[in-house]
C-alpha cells in the first residue's frame, strides 16, 4: 500500500484543489487578450525606462485585472440553484423544466450570468441568462426540454459563467445540482383497427362473468338484499318492476403485454420501435380502461388500471435494455419472461422483435404473438 504521504491523489489538499479547479475556471476573452498585451507592453516600457509614471499606468492595468477577477468571483459566489424536474417525461414531447436561482450575497448583485446545463458531463446551452440578480433575491427560470431518447437524463449541475465587470475574463463556476429525469418511450398513434381487433379478440377469448366493473352484464329483478344503488331506474320505470343492473367483472378483460428484450445489435432500431409500440399500446388500452399487465424480462408491472399504473409501466419501458443473444443462440436467463397460468394473465400479447427459429421460446404460448415482420409493418411510421 502506498504511503499516505506519497499517495498524493488521495490527499485532502489535492482533492480540494481538484475540486476548486473543477468548480471554477477562468478564460481570457478576445478583449482580455488585447488588454493583457497592452499591459505587457506598458510593463516592458516601464522596466525599460524606469519611469515611475509608466509603473503607475502598469499598476492601473494590473489593478483592473485584479478587480475584474474579484468582482467576477463575487458574482458567482453564494449562488444557489434548485432544479425542479418532473418524475417522468415522454420522448419527443417538449417539457418545461424550471430552475430556481438564488443570490445569497448580502450586498452585491450578480450581473451578466449565463447558465449552462451540465448533462452527462457536457455543457448544454439552454439560452438562460440573468442580467441582474439583486442580493438576497431569487428568480425562477423555465426552459423547454425535448428528449429524443428514452432512459435516464442525468443532470449533474449548472455551470454559471459571467463576463462581469469588464468582459476581460470569462469566469465559470460549477454548481452541483444533481437530478435524474426519466424519459419514457414516445406514445405514437396506433391504427384503430389493430387495437379494436386486439380488444375484440381478447374479449372473445374471455368468458364474461358477473362481477365488479362498469360494463353491463345483466338486468334482473330486484331481490331483497340487493344494493339499492344498482337499481336501473329506466328499466324499472318501463317495466314497473324493480330491476337491478349487474356488471361484468372487469378483471375478465385483462390483457398482458409481454415484451421480449432479446435482440441482436442489428435489430436495435426495431427493438426501440417495439418498445415505442408497446408503450403506445398500453396507453391505448389504459384509455379504454382495460386492466393491463406488462412483462419485460424479469420485470412485472402487475395488473392494474388507470394513469398511475400506466406511468409505472412506462417507467419499466423507459428502463428496459436490449439484450444481445448468446452466440450459440441460447437466450439469456430472463430475456423471455415466464408466462404464468392462463387464468391470471388474461389475453396475452407477445411482442418479439427478434426470435431464434432454432430455439423457440415460451413466447409462443401467448395468445397473440407479434413478430418482427408484423412489427415492422405496425411501426414503420414511427
Amino acid at each position: 500500500m502506498k504511503h499516505p504521504l506519497l499517495n498524493l491523489r488521495a490527499s485532502r489538499p489535492f482533492s480540494f484543489v481538484q475540486g476548486m479547479s473543477r468548480r471554477r475556471s477562468i478564460r481570457l476573452t478576445s478583449e482580455g487578450t488585447r488588454f493583457l498585451l497592452f499591459t505587457f507592453g506598458i510593463g516592458l516600457a516601464a522596466i525599460n525606462t524606469g519611469n515611475n509614471l509608466f509603473y503607475l499606468l502598469l499598476a492601473m492595468m494590473l489593478s483592473l485585472i485584479v478587480i475584474s477577477g474579484l468582482l467576477s468571483e463575487y458574482c458567482l459566489r453564494r449562488l444557489e440553484f434548485h432544479r425542479h424536474v418532473p418524475d417522468l417525461i415522454m420522448a419527443n414531447e417538449p417539457t418545461t423544466l424550471t430552475l430556481s436561482v438564488t443570490n445569497r450575497n448580502r450586498h452585491l448583485s450578480s450581473f451578466s450570468l449565463r447558465l449552462l446545463d451540465v448533462v452527462e458531463g457536457q455543457d448544454v446551452d439552454r439560452g438562460l441568462s440573468i442580467h441582474l440578480l439583486p442580493p438576497q433575491s431569487s428568480v425562477l427560470l423555465s426552459y423547454p426540454l425535448l428528449a429524443t431518447k428514452r432512459g435516464w437524463i442525468r443532470f449533474q449541475g449548472i455551470r454559471a459563467y459571467t463576463l462581469f465587470p469588464f468582459g476581460l475574463f470569462l469566469k465559470k463556476g460549477l454548481y452541483s445540482t444533481e437530478a435524474h429525469l426519466l424519459v419514457s418511450p414516445p406514445i405514437k398513434p396506433l391504427t384503430l383497427r389493430f387495437v379494436d381487433e386486439l380488444v375484440s379478440e381478447g374479449q372473445g377469448q374471455s368468458l364474461p362473468q358477473r362481477g365488479h366493473g362498469t360494463q353491463l352484464y345483466n338486468l334482473r329483478l330486484y331481490q331483497p338484499g340487493d344494493d339499492s344503488r344498482a337499481i336501473h331506474w329506466m328499466t324499472t320505470a318501463r317495466t314497473s318492476q324493480l330491476i337491478v343492473r349487474e356488471t361484468e367483472a372487469e378483471d375478465q378483460r385483462r390483457i398482458t403485454v409481454v415484451l421480449s428484450i432479446l435482440a441482436p445489435e442489428e435489430c436495435a432500431p426495431l427493438f426501440e420501435r417495439s418498445v415505442t409500440f408497446v408503450a403506445s399500446l398500453l396507453w391505448q388500452l389504459t384509455e379504454r380502461a382495460y386492466p393491463v399487465r406488462l412483462l419485460i424480462g424479469t420485470e412485472d408491472s402487475g395488473l392494474g388500471a388507470g394513469s398511475a399504473h400506466l406511468l409505472a409501466m412506462l417507467r419499466l419501458l423507459a428502463l428496459c435494455e436490449r439484450q444481445s443473444p448468446e452466440p450459440n443462440g441460447v437466450s439469456h436467463h430472463g430475456a423471455h419472461p415466464p408466462l404464468t397460468h392462463e387464468a391470471e394473465r388474461g389475453y396475452t400479447v407477445a411482442v418479439v422483435p427478434w426470435s431464434n427459429q432454432a430455439a423457440p421460446t415460451n413466447m409462443e404460448q401467448a395468445d397473440r404473438v407479434l413478430h418482427a415482420t408484423q412489427l415492422e409493418e405496425l411501426t414503420h411510421a414511427f
Binding site: 478583449e31 488585447r34 497592452f38 506598458i42 516600457a45 522596466i47 525599460n48 525606462t49 524606469g50 519611469n51 515611475n52 509614471l53 509608466f54 509603473y55 503607475l56 499606468l57 502598469l58 499598476a59 492601473m60 494590473l62 489593478s63 483592473l64 485584479v66 478587480i67 468582482l71 450581473f111 451578466s112 439560452g127 438562460l128 441568462s129 440573468i130 442580467h131 441582474l132 440578480l133 439583486p134 433575491s137 431569487s138 428568480v139 425562477l140 427560470l141 423555465s142 426552459y143 463576463l163 462581469f164 465587470p165 469588464f166 468582459g167 476581460l168
Partner: protein
C-alpha cells in the same frame, strides 16, 4: 441617462482626458490641438444627447472612403513630421496619435471603433506620462482611471444586453429583477464609482509594491536644464542681478533634524572666488580632487586625516532636491562634511566647492551633513591674528586702483582694535550706509565697486559682498566672495525651504586662523512681506503637493521600497516590544497578588492553597451560574446572529420558561396573544411585561421589518424584569 448614451459619453470622456494630458504636456501644437478640441467638444455634445448637434450630424453623411483618405493623409503627415519637421519619433508619433484620435471620434459607429478609440487613448496617456513628471498628471490620471472603469463596465454591459435575445428573458419572482434597467440607476452609479475607488486603492498598493527595475536601454533625458548665473569659473559683478526676479524653483531643502523655527534663513553655498580684477571675480585654483567614498553612496568632504576646525559649530543635515540646472555645482550649507547621493563620484575644489563631473540631466536628490563654524572666543578678542602664508597669498589680493576703497576701509575700522571687531565694523558700515536695490546695473561700468561705494550707494548682494571682501583685504584680513542661494521661503505644509532663482545670493567668508572660514553677510535683509495672503498660502500648499508627488511617485525607487520594508519591520518590532511591555506591566501586579496569596496559603497551611483555589473556582462557577440568565439575555441582544429574527424568538422562549417556572404554562393550542391574556389573569404583576414581549415577538417574527436594537433591548429588559419578579400569587 440610458446605458447606451452613458457608454458613448464615457468613451468620449476617456479620449478627452487622454488628449488633455497630451495638451498639458505641451506636446500638441496649436494647429492640431484646436481642431481636435473642437471635434472632442462636438463628440461630447453628441454623446450627451444635444439635439442640435445630433440633428446637424445626422444631416452630414460622409462616405467611408473619405475616412480612409484622411487616414492615409495622417500617415503621410507622420512621415513628413518624422523626416523633416520634428525629426523625432516621440513628437511625430504624438501628432499622429492625435490625428487618429480626431478621425476615430468622427467615425464611432461599431463596437470595433470604440475599441480602437480606447487603444488610442491609452497610448495618449502613456505618451503624456513619458513627457512629464509634473503634479498635474495626478488629476488627469485619476480622471482617466474613473473614465476607464465606467467605459469598460458600460462596454461590457451594453454588449451583454444587446446580445441576449428577448425570448429567453426569464420570468421573475416578485422579489427578483433579472433584466437590466435601461437607465443608469442610483445604485449602479454608486457601485461603479465604488469600483473606481477600489481600483485607485489597488493601483496605489500595486504601484508601491512592484519591484523597481530600470534597464534603461532607451532612456532619454527629460526637460531642459535651468539656466543659472554666478556659478561659472568667472562671475562678472552685476550678473546675479539678472535672475533676482526669476521665481523658478531651483531646489528644495529639508532639514530633517531641525524645525523651521530655529532657522529663518539658510545659506546654500555654491562656489567661492578669490581673485577680483575690479570687474569680475574668478578663482585661482581650478584643480579638483575626488572625494573619498566612505559608505554606500556617502562621500567624505573633509580631507582624510583632517579634523574639524575649532570653534563652536553646529551640525546641520540637509536633504536637497535639486532641479536640473546647467551647472555641475552641488549646493549645501557651509561647510559640507558628508555628501550622500546616487553619484558615481563627487569632487571638491580648493575652496570647498562641491562638483559633479557633469551637470545632471535630471532632478537629483542628495543629503549633506554640514558643520557651521563660528568664531572662537579668543579670536574675537585677539588684537593680532597670524595668518598662514597660503591664505595670505590667495585671499589678500586687491585690484589695482583700490586706494579709495582702502581709505574708506581704514576710516571705518578706526575705532576697532581687533580683526574680528574690524570685520564687524566693515559689515555694519555696509549694512547701515547703503541701500539695497536691484536696479543698480553695474555690469557695464569700469569700476563698479567704486560706483557702488561712493556714487550710487545702492546695490545688491554682489556689490555688498565684493565691497566687504575688498575692504577686508585692504586692512589685511583674508576674505573671499561666495555665491550660492539664500533660502528664506519656508513651506510649512511640506516642511522644507523652497529655493528659487531669485534667491541667488553672494556673501563673504572671512578667515580666522583657529575658527576657519566664517560666513558673513553684509547685505541688508530685504524684509519682503511674508507671504500671508491666501493665494500665496495655497501656492505653497500646491508646491508641497508637487514635492510629495515627486518624492512618492516620480522618484520612487527600489531604495525607497527597501526603506519601507525596513521601516515596517522596525515598526512591527517596536510595536511588538511595546505590546509585550504593556502586557507585562498589566500582569505584574496580578501575578504579584497571586504569588502573595499562594505564599500566604502555603505558610498558613500547606494544603490550603488547593482549598483556596477550589473555593475560588467553585465560587466563580456559581457566580456565573447565577448570572447565566443575564449573560444569556445580554448575548441574545448584543452578539451578532445570522438571522436577527431569532433573537426575539429566543427572548420569547426565555419568557415562556420564566413564566412556566412561576406556575403558568402555555397550553399547546393557545396562541401567543391568548397566553398573554391568560398570564394577565393568573399573574397580574407579570401581565404588562408579557404583553409587551408578546407584541414585540409578533412584530419581529411575523412583521415585514426587523426589530430595531432598541426594541430588542426593551424586550430583553422586560424579560429581565420578569425574572426578578417574586413568585406569582395563586
Amino acid at each position: 441617462m440610458p446605458f447606451n448614451q452613458a457608454f458613448a459619453l464615457s468613451s468620449v470622456l476617456l479620449a478627452a482626458t487622454a488628449f488633455t494630458g497630451l495638451v498639458l504636456a505641451q506636446s500638441v501644437p496649436l494647429w492640431l490641438a484646436l481642431p481636435t478640441a473642437i471635434i472632442l467638444t462636438v463628440s461630447l455634445l453628441h454623446a450627451g444627447g444635444n439635439h442640435f448637434v445630433r440633428q446637424a450630424m445626422a444631416r452630414v453623411t460622409v462616405s467611408p472612403t473619405l475616412w480612409n483618405v484622411l487616414l492615409i493623409g495622417a500617415l503621410a503627415i507622420l512621415l513628413i513630421d518624422l523626416t523633416v519637421v520634428s525629426r523625432d519619433l516621440l513628437p511625430a508619433g504624438i501628432h499622429f496619435l492625435v490625428m487618429l484620435l480626431a478621425i476615430k471620434l468622427l467615425t464611432l459607429q461599431q463596437r470595433r471603433d470604440y475599441r480602437h478609440l480606447y487603444g488610442i487613448s491609452l497610448m495618449a496617456i502613456l505618451a503624456s506620462a513619458a513627457l512629464t513628471t509634473d503634479a498635474w498628471y495626478v488629476p488627469i490620471f485619476l480622471l482617466y482611471l474613473l473614465a476607464a472603469v465606467w467605459t469598460l463596465l458600460l462596454y461590457h454591459l451594453t454588449q451583454e444586453t444587446g446580445e441576449t435575445p428577448a425570448a429567453v428573458t426569464p420570468s421573475s419572482t416578485a422579489t427578483g429583477q433579472t433584466t437590466f434597467p435601461s437607465r443608469i440607476t442610483h445604485h449602479f452609479f454608486w457601485l461603479t464609482n465604488g469600483i473606481a475607488v477600489l481600483t485607485v486603492v489597488l493601483t496605489l498598493a500595486i504601484f508601491f509594491l512592484i519591484p523597481r527595475i530600470g534597464a534603461g536601454m532607451l532612456q532619454k533625458t527629460s526637460g531642459e536644464a535651468l539656466r543659472t548665473t554666478g556659478f561659472s569659473d568667472r562671475v562678472d559683478l552685476g550678473t546675479i542681478g539678472s535672475v533676482k526676479q526669476d521665481p523658478q524653483i531651483v531646489m528644495r531643502v529639508e532639514l530633517p533634524d531641525q524645525s523651521a523655527i530655529e532657522k529663518d534663513r539658510l545659506y546654500l553655498r555654491g562656489l567661492a572666488y578669490n581673485q577680483y580684477n575690479g570687474q569680475s571675480w574668478s578663482h585661482s585654483g581650478t584643480r579638483r580632487r575626488s572625494l573619498n567614498l566612505v559608505a554606500d553612496g556617502t562621500f567624505l568632504a573633509r580631507p582624510g586625516g583632517s579634523r574639524p576646525l575649532g570653534g563652536r559649530s553646529g551640525t546641520i543635515r540637509q536633504d536637497i532636491l535639486l532641479e536640473t540646472l546647467d551647472t555641475a555645482v552641488l549646493f549645501a550649507v557651509p561647510f559640507a562634511e558628508l555628501v550622500n547621493g546616487e553619484f558615481l563620484t563627487v569632487q571638491t575644489d580648493a575652496m570647498g566647492g562641491l562638483h559633479l563631473p557633469f551637470p545632471p540631466s535630471s532632478r537629483i536628490r542628495y543629503s549633506v551633513t554640514s558643520h557651521v563654524p563660528q568664531v572662537v572666543e579668543n579670536e574675537r578678542t585677539a588684537s593680532v591674528l597670524a595668518y598662514p602664508d597660503s591664505i595670505r597669498a590667495h585671499y589678500l589680493q586687491v585690484p589695482l586702483g583700490s586706494q579709495l576703497v582702502a581709505e574708506l576701509a581704514h576710516r571705518v575700522i578706526q575705532q576697532t582694535t581687533t580683526p574680528f571687531g574690524q570685520t564687524l565694523a566693515i559689515q555694519q558700515h555696509l549694512l547701515e550706509n547703503y541701500r539695497y536695490s536691484l536696479e543698480a546695473d553695474t555690469a557695464t561700468l569700469s569700476h563698479p565697486l567704486e560706483e557702488f561705494l561712493f556714487t550710487r550707494k545702492t546695490g545688491y548682494c554682489e556689490h555688498y559682498a565684493t565691497a566687504m571682501v575688498v575692504m577686508l583685504r585692504t586692512v589685511g584680513i583674508p576674505a573671499r566672495l561666495v555665491t550660492g542661494f539664500l533660502a528664506t521661503e519656508w513651506n510649512e505644509y511640506g516642511g522644507y525651504f523652497t529655493v528659487r532663482q531669485r534667491d541667488a545670493h553672494a556673501w563673504v567668508e572671512v578667515y580666522f586662523p583657529q575658527s576657519g572660514w566664517v560666513t558673513m553677510d553684509p547685505t541688508p535683509t530685504v524684509n519682503a512681506a511674508v507671504a500671508t495672503s491666501r493665494w500665496e498660502s495655497l501656492s505653497r500648499l500646491g508646491e508641497s503637493v508637487r514635492l510629495q508627488w515627486d518624492r512618492l511617485f516620480v522618484r520612487y525607487s527600489a531604495k525607497d521600497q527597501l526603506a519601507v520594508v525596513h521601516g515596517v519591520r522596525e515598526g512591527s518590532d517596536a510595536v511588538r516590544e511595546r505590546v509585550s511591555r504593556w502586557v507585562s506591566s498589566l500582569s505584574a501586579p496580578i501575578s504579584q497578588v497571586f504569588s502573595r496569596l499562594a505564599h500566604l496559603a502555603r505558610t498558613f497551611q500547606p494544603g490550603m492553597l488547593g482549598l483556596v483555589t477550589g473555593v475560588i473556582v467553585v465560587g466563580l462557577a456559581l457566580f456565573l451560574l447565577m448570572l447565566r440568565d443575564r449573560i444569556g439575555l445580554w448575548a441574545t441582544t448584543h452578539l451578532p446572529t445570522a438571522h436577527p429574527e431569532l433573537a426575539i424568538v429566543q427572548l420569547y422562549t426565555r419568557m415562556l420558561r420564566t413564566v412556566e417556572k412561576h406556575g403558568v404554562s402555555k397550553p399547546p393550542a393557545a396562541t401567543a396573544s391568548e397566553f398573554a391574556r391568560l398570564v394577565e389573569q393568573k399573574w397580574k404583576a407579570a401581565g404588562p411585561m408579557v404583553a409587551d414581549v408578546t407584541a414585540l415577538y409578533h412584530q419581529g417574527r411575523f412583521g415585514r421589518n426587523p426589530l430595531t436594537p432598541g426594541e430588542l433591548s426593551r424586550a430583553a429588559e422586560q424579560v429581565g424584569r420578569l425574572q426578578s419578579l417574586p413568585h406569582a400569587a395563586r
